[in-house]
Structures are given as C-alpha cells and as structure tokens.
Symmetry: C2
C-alpha cells in the first residue's frame, strides 16, 4: 500500500494575527498519522483570493495525493474560499440544490434576510461533489483535479472533524501508530544526542525526538519515539535510553506508552 | 511607514503528526500584529532538506520583507535547519567562534562527548550574523538575501521568544491594535451576516469576524473587531451590533475591550 500524503491549507486571518491556535492542524495531523497516512506540509493563509490561489498552486505541485482546505465557508463577507477555489479551478460557482435542501432541513425556518446567506453557502464549484454538514450549516466540496483529490472543509472544529471522518477518512487507509514518551532529568540534550543519532540509524522506521524544557526551574528533557511499523519492539528503545541515563547519573520516567 | 510583512516557516515533524500545537505561530502572529506588522502566511514543513528548500523558495517569492524560520537548531540528527538553509543559500556552514564562545560560557563544563554537539550548533551559514541564545543553547542566524531579511530562530518557545524580542522586533516598528470581543446569544450567523458585511464596508481598516460555537449545548456567536487604525472609534461598531441584536430578540455581552 502506498502511503497517502495530505497537504493542508488552513485559510483564516485569525490564525495569522495571534487570535486562534491552529487546533485543526493538530487534530488532522494526529488523525492522519494514526490512520497510516502523513501530512506532507501545512500552509496557513489569509482570506484573500490571490493567497488562496497561490497556496493551491503550491499544494498541487507537491507530492501529496490529497489536499484539504479548512475555513472560509461561512455566510459573511470574508468567507471567500469556495469562490476562490472555483476561480482557481476555472469553474463557475453554481447553487447545489442537494446541499441547499440538506442545510434547510436542519435549520430553523429561513427568513428572507438569511436566505441569501444560505444560498451563498450552498454555491459550489461546478462539477464538485457536495459534502453535507451534519453539525453546522455550510457544506463542503470534493473535487478531483490534476490527479489529486481536493476536499474543501469548514474551519469550525467540530464541523471539520465530522466531515473529515465521513468523507476524507475512507481515502486514507488504516494502520496503528505506537510509541513512548519519556521524561529525563539530569542529562543535557547535547550529552544524549549521540545516542539518539545512533537509535535513529538503527531504527529507521521510528520517529525519535528530544524536547528540552524548563519545568518549575528544573531542566527537563522529553524524548519521544513513535512508529507505524508493527515489527519494531519500541521498548528496546526505552531500554537503551534508560541504560544511558542511569549510567550518566540521570533519572528517566516512562510518561506514556501506547 | 510601509507595513512590515513577515513570512513564517515552522520546521518540525512534531507539528505535522499531531504531537505539538503551533504555539509559536500564535505568539508571533499576536506580537507582530500588535507591533503594526503582519504575518503574510505560514508554512509548516518536516525536518527534511528538500522541504525546507521548497519552503524558502515560496517564502522568498512572496511579498514579505522578513522571513522567520523556527525549529531544527538543536544538537540531534534531525536538526538540519542551518545546514539546509546554508545549502539553499549556496553557502558553506562555518563554525562561528563568537557563537561557540557565548554558548560555552552559559553551559556546564563541556565533555568530549558533547563538544561535537556544541560545535554543530555553532556552525552557521558563511557571512551570517550570529544571534546569541540567552535562554537555551543553540544560536540563531540573520542573513540578508535577495532584498529580504532571513532570521533562523530556535523552535523551543522561550528561546524563540527571547531571540525575537532582541533581534527581530527592532525591524518591525511599533503601533497598537485595539479591539472588542462580543458574545451573542439567540442570533444565527446567517441572520447577522448582512450587518457584518455592511460594517466591513463602512470600516475598511477594521478586521471584523464572527465565530459560531456550541457552549454547554447552547449556540453562541462571538463577533470580534480589531484595528491598528487609531482614527477608528471601535465602540461605534459595538453600538451597531448591540442595536441589531436587541431588536432581533437576542442578547449581547462585551467580553473583551482593549
């Protein structure tokens, strides 16, 4: 099985002015990784037509098989993702009756004032497949283009997650990632880095990484090891770390194993 | 004064596999915005040579004046940012004695084992200015190239922040952003979106955005308005929102004003 690679384009000025943490990327990264795929890269841009087009150019020229955009599908003035995607594809935006009807069924009686907003949200690039929104309002869209599959998803986290599980997950495939997180005290990163280098060479299918930090004034080093390779005995890595730390006068704790 | 525009390249596999939230982007976005600059876009890539090069191509072809990379400066095997940047610039990595001496002064007596790791960290692209790390170990680098200024910063948040304040901030300039955050109940986003559109047109220098969410089973809408334009009376926007919400049977609260 070829590994599925995903390029994520997060659209939203709020992500670039320090208003909102990109929790969507965290969730998608974790989910895609645990399904056996990988996030190739992630690009965050403003709700601006030329930036969205430039991001799609970059994503479509990458090796990723799947491209996901999040954000900019709502009813307001600056929600221009569908329009920008359509323009980039060279397609018209057309009102999708299925998407409109699905949305209407879930909402309160619609006023004259808000009807336009619902019609705006249900207007999708010509030829795309509507992705129904079971949680909020705005539908998404799926488009096959240049041999890749583009999913246009909402930015609201619970809407995005539901749509990802329904529509994107089946294209990613399944496997399981396992790993350990250790906490090391009394050892500097530079001291243990030769061992980490050696472990990385000996276990090429394992992602091993050290993170130094300060906790209550004390230097702490967290070392993680994660793999999707079921033939790896991950505890062998822990044993090697433990033996190094102990013989160098440090302490090691196994914080997480799963 | 021309507005300074910053392109951020976050380097680190941990950001793409759901292990780490990109708090550095949040902090930098907030900081740069409140200094009167803007983050043009942000690209997150793996610790891989070709991806770092491709990200630098994309960043240097954008309108941004300043490019910041974060991450990949540590002593371990997969910390390849300096090396990748040097290769992309067509420069050699050379041991910077000032950077090495500064780092040594702050650390414990160095063992033979860890000396190599310190020398690796102090090796910077030829011709670059070292950025001393007052918090952790690895130095950063500043390079002027193709009319833009590239800052190579560490990924560890407190090290990155200290270095940003010392070395990057003076290039950004100062102003103040002000704004409000309101919480609206009993009004749907689609209902109020025509008003938001009108406000956006009437106040072109203000960033106005609505965020729907569910809180304890109740539909809530947060509407924010932020500006760097000191001539705007931001409370006029609140008054218009308030008057709409009240006449349509909803409730509005001013959660934040600053």
């Amino acid at each position: 099985m070829t590994k599925i690679s995903v390029f994520i384009v997060n659209i939203g000025t709020e992500l670039l002015i320090g208003r909102t943490l990109n929790g969507n990327l965290l969730w998608l990264g974790s989910r895609i990784y645990s399904l056996g795929g990988e996030v190739f890269a992630s690009l965050t841009v403003h709700d601006k037509r030329d930036q969205i087009a430039s991001a799609l150019n970059y994503a479509f020229s990458s090796p990723a098989n799947i491209i996901i955009t999040t954000g900019g599908l709502g009813p307001t003035y600056d929600d221009i993702t569908m329009d920008s995607v359509a323009e980039w594809l060279g397609k018209k935006l057309v009102l999708n009756e299925d998407a409109l009807n699905f949305m209407m069924k879930l909402r309160r009686p619609v006023t004259e004032e808000s009807k336009k907003a619902y019609e705006k949200m249900a207007s999708l690039p010509e030829g795309s497949t509507p992705l129904f929104n079971f949680v909020g309002a705005a539908p998404g869209a799926m488009i096959v283009f240049m041999g890749k599959r583009l999913f246009v998803l909402p930015g609201v986290p619970n809407e995005m997650r539901d749509m990802f599980e329904r529509y994107v997950e089946p294209f990613i495939g399944y496997s399981v990632s396992r790993g350990i997180v250790t906490r090391v005290e009394g050892i500097y990163e530079a001291q243990i880095s030769p061992l980490i280098t050696r472990l990385t060479e000996n276990f090429p299918t394992v992602y091993i990484k050290s993170h130094p930090s300060m906790e209550y004034g004390k230097s702490v080093l967290r070392i993680e090891a994660w793999t999707q390779d079921s033939s790896v005995e991950i505890m062998k890595i822990y044993d090697e770390l433990r033996s190094f730390v102990v013989t160098h006068g440090g302490k090691i704790f196994l914080e997480k194993q799963g």
